[in-house]
Subunit: 216 residues, 4 copies
């Protein structure tokens, strides 16, 4: 079980093996319940070597988060072609996102659940990734506004809020798709487009829902 015990691998390779093992264990057991012993064993190395390369449990977890965050944002970036219409870009991006999280459930568990559950400094690491994705969505919303011949002046504030909502919905759906038997990445993406884009589309056409007047 675990990586075969091969001797004298170059350091970079060994590190990746350790991170592979760590992501799997952290994703399945959770940050606190994961033990360095188990990670070292799954990586096929001795515990002191893990410490030599990655310093501490905290640093190891941070390294996992960074690697997986980069992989996820890269996957989304690679799935989108900049020239296309905004809804197409959003659709492509969502599909890439759901596909990646479905293929790497442990990584997604690390990013979405574990990192957020265990406070700083981990939450900060994920926040950076999230900010990138929110920025990407924000750009898309701006593009969509332009395409709809609408004044760019959906207030910046409002755009940021919408992007947050969209990303939050996507995150939740990804976790749900991973744990719900029979739910595919494609279905998740479709559901979200129905939910979000059609709502955003209305906004773009100036159809705004307004709160009722008679409140306390």
């Amino acid at each position: 079980m675990g990586a075969v015990k091969t001797k004298r691998m170059p350091r970079a390779v060994r590190e990746q093996q350790m991170l592979d093992a760590a992501v799997r264990i952290f994703g399945q057991r959770g940050y606190m319940a994961a033990s360095m012993d188990e990670i070292a064993e799954l990586a096929g190395v001795s515990k002191p070597l893990v410490y030599l390369y990655l310093n501490s449990k905290e640093d190891l977890f941070t390294a996992c988060i960074r690697r997986e965050a980069a992989a996820l944002t890269e996957a989304v970036r690679a799935g989108v072609r900049p020239g296309l219409p905004a809804d197409r870009q959003l659709w492509d991006g969502l599909r890439a996102f759901f596909a990646h999280t479905a293929e790497h459930p442990d990584a997604w568990s690390v990013l979405h659940l574990q990192a957020r559950t265990h406070g700083e400094p981990f939450a900060g690491e994920v926040a950076a990734m999230r900010a990138e994705i929110v920025a990407f969505v924000t750009r898309l919303v701006a593009v969509a506004a332009r395409e709809a011949h609408r004044d760019p002046d959906l207030p910046e504030h409002e755009v940021a809020g919408l992007s947050e909502a969209l990303v939050g919905a996507a995150e939740s759906l990804a976790a749900w798709a991973n744990t719900t038997p029979g739910a595919t990445a494609r279905q998740a993406a479709t559901t979200l487009m129905n939910f979000a884009w059609s709502g955003l589309g209305n906004l773009m056409r100036g159809q705004v829902w307004t709160p009722p007047m008679d409140e306390a």
Copy 2:
């Protein structure tokens, strides 16, 4: 710090104090990092008393989840008046939800993060609450469909996904509103209505977003 050390309380009162302390500690430290020592100290009692009344860390956590899940669903229920139009009910429900989670951030952390992060039997407890909320949303969708003179039959599966997305978006917005200067819970709710209801509204009118044809 913590509850004032009052002696010889009746059991029911003490139990609530312990749950108060436990929710706070679990919400801030996380389930695993929370120590029974710290919870007992915050509750102003000795550890053995916590065990005498609540049995084990697992049982204590479960009791927290149950109490807070009941409080949250009750708050939402109390915020909604059944006779009103669907969008008004949704608006009221969301506001009650945002208000409650904002006032009880530790409880929300327990329900949303901690319980889901630490597997069974906790996830199951939250699933019950989630099912109630999904049922509420499902009823609203049915009401909205009737109001739009349409067939309400969205597949159960689809409704579950939408509900998941809605809660994810809400949670994201709540966090965003809490950390972004100048963003209020009310604005967050408005943004979410724009995002969600107009999307749902389109669905109700048969305006479904369709994926592009030219895919791999």
Copy 3:
């Protein structure tokens, strides 16, 4: 379960109920594993009452030992009629012993296992009972010697050892009879008489087994 909760019993009665419960729990769980909680519950009283009457776990255990030791020696005494020949007295005593220990297995566990396993002051209590039995055997040896017209003066030391061996053999046989299908308590007693009495009988007739000469 346990004694029915009756109020306002006279102290002596309550004490016996407590001792009944304690013997049962100590016999089944062992001295250390027995908990005062469980004993109080089985006795149908509150824990502080146990402490009020019996002082401490140690005192409670000691009281158990004393009561059960007295009961056992009394049972043996009652089974024997002094005027009869020595072998008949031994046979009667053994049968009374086997019968009592079989009927009160928890008491026997307390006396034979628990008390000896947990050092002073308990071992001392049992030693007193053991001394009585040794005295009984010693008397029998004297009677047998008289019957055989011989000098009864086996050294005290030797008699103590013989008594020890006799009780050990009896206990072993009792356990063996209990777990071997087809072996009755009566047969066990017969075997023991064959084993022991005939050996003692030889001793009385001056037929002593002598160790070989050629030793290292």
Copy 4:
């Protein structure tokens, strides 16, 4: 006190040191009253090392029982020469037995008292050793019967009972010799031979003690 604190021993050596310490503590305090802390300290190592090598208190105790049971049976086996007459073999075996138990009183306490007092799985471990010794004695009784030109047909059942009684007597005497000042192993063996062999010898010559007729 305890083993000198030598660092970096090979695992096999450390394990023996730990077992040495454990036998001593278990033998003196009893299984339940023994604390892993004390054992570790006496072994001259830290508690986690004990757990790393021996897993748990239960496993540690089991390892003690196995080691000491093997040592005891080996000592008896080594003390007996198969060709000699039965009484000589019995005498030699008993002397080896008493000598070993006298030299290793804690080990004998573990085997005779502690293991039997604390139920499964410990009792089972000792039962295996006991069965070996009973089998050895049973063989001897058969040999003795042949030597006495007696039909081999002392019923098998009877032989088994006699062996049980003999072993039980020996066990009890060993404990007694260990705790009685001035009682030597040699004297214990002599007493037991007088008690048992002469009885057995009578049996072998057909002199059977018969129970009285006038019973209830």
